[in-house]
């Protein structure tokens, strides 16, 4: 799937320093590169490599669609092992599914639905239930205490 083996000190610096604050100006890569001691072309090339290798899943704006009338909802499924691959394919096929994780629990599939309108959530849930035959357990947030999804790189462990 992904090859994380070619992850050097420069890549690490890029990941650690560019998780936010990317400039909005005529030559943003040049400005960001200068702050890291890199050339513009090198930064662009590095980002291409990090994306191609799956170290980054994306480089760009992170949208909080709720601020313009959209909705995010966390939801879970209890998927029988024998049905796993079929359900993964069915759930991931929906563009409304923004993230999906396998977790160790009776509720073994947890995904986030992101839709442009609040009513899109119910429609997506109905579609998943129809296609999988399983009950979707929705966990809409009632209150957000903190969100800051920035993580410093950690040393890779061998073995």
């Amino acid at each position: 799937m992904s090859d994380f083996s070619l992850f050097d000190a420069v890549d690490r610096q890029i990941v650690d320093h560019l998780q936010g604050g990317f400039p909005v100006c005529d030559r943003p890569y040049a400005v960001a590169a200068a702050s890291l001691g890199l050339a513009e072309a090198e930064l662009i090339e590095r980002l291409q490599g990090l994306l191609a290798r799956g170290v980054l899943t994306r480089f760009g704006p992170l949208f909080q669609i709720e601020r313009v009338g959209g909705a995010f909802v966390l939801a879970a499924l209890e998927v029988p092992d024998a049905d796993w691959e079929r359900v993964v394919a069915a759930v991931n096929a929906l563009p409304e599914v923004a993230h999906n994780y396998r977790r160790e629990h009776r509720f073994n599939m947890w995904f986030v639905l992101a839709t442009e309108k609040p009513e899109g959530i119910a429609a997506a849930i109905a579609k998943i239930e129809a296609e999988t035959g399983l009950t979707v357990h929705a966990f809409p947030k009632e209150r957000e205490y903190f969100v800051e999804m920035k993580l410093a790189t950690r040393e890779r462990r061998h073995g």
């Binding site: 992850f7 998780q19 993230h99 629990h105 966990f139």
Partner: protein
């Protein structure tokens, strides 16, 4: 959301163009000028429609091989005050109050914890547990074992 903002979201939700002048490239795609694209992005940042612009890493790839969703059954009268405090812990990346699904799911407070080992995450869970004290009646942690999808928002054109 007006039409140009919406088109700008559509044009950037998969990522920014990787070229020297990405905003000019977007402007060419959208049929406006680069200054307008930049103004719109700045305005969306100011309004919180854009949380941030930058790199979105795969947690596993940058060394966070243990990713636990910790869930807590916290007495309703204390959950907001305690949720704010848990959210301030430096190792918590998301913290929310969510509905219980009784009888099988008594948990109403969710906190995401990341570490390079399950031991590290469990040590952090112990810190959360001590902070919650008697207000917490039960807890669990759900470690992720695979990222099945991580595309982020995808509005339909």
């Amino acid at each position: 959301m007006d039409e140009l903002d919406r088109r700008l979201i559509l044009a950037t939700q998969r990522g920014l163009p990787l070229c020297a002048q990405p905003y000019a490239a977007l402007a060419a795609e959208l049929g406006c000028d680069a200054a307008t694209v930049m103004q719109r992005l700045e305005a969306m940042l100011a309004r919180g429609v854009i949380r941030r612009i930058g790199a979105v890493p795969n947690h596993y790839a940058i060394g966070y091989t243990a990713n636990g969703m910790s869930v807590w059954d916290v007495a309703d009268e204390f959950v907001d005050e305690l949720g704010e405090r848990i959210g301030q812990l430096p190792f918590v990346t998301h913290c929310y109050r969510r509905p219980r699904h009784l009888p099988g799911w008594p948990y109403n407070l969710f906190a995401m914890l990341h570490g390079d080992s399950r031991d590290e995450v469990m040590a952090r869970i112990a810190i959360v547990r001590s902070l919650l004290g008697d207000a917490c009646r039960a807890d669990d942690v759900l470690f992720s074992t695979a990222i099945l999808k991580k595309t982020g928002l995808r509005l339909a054109a």
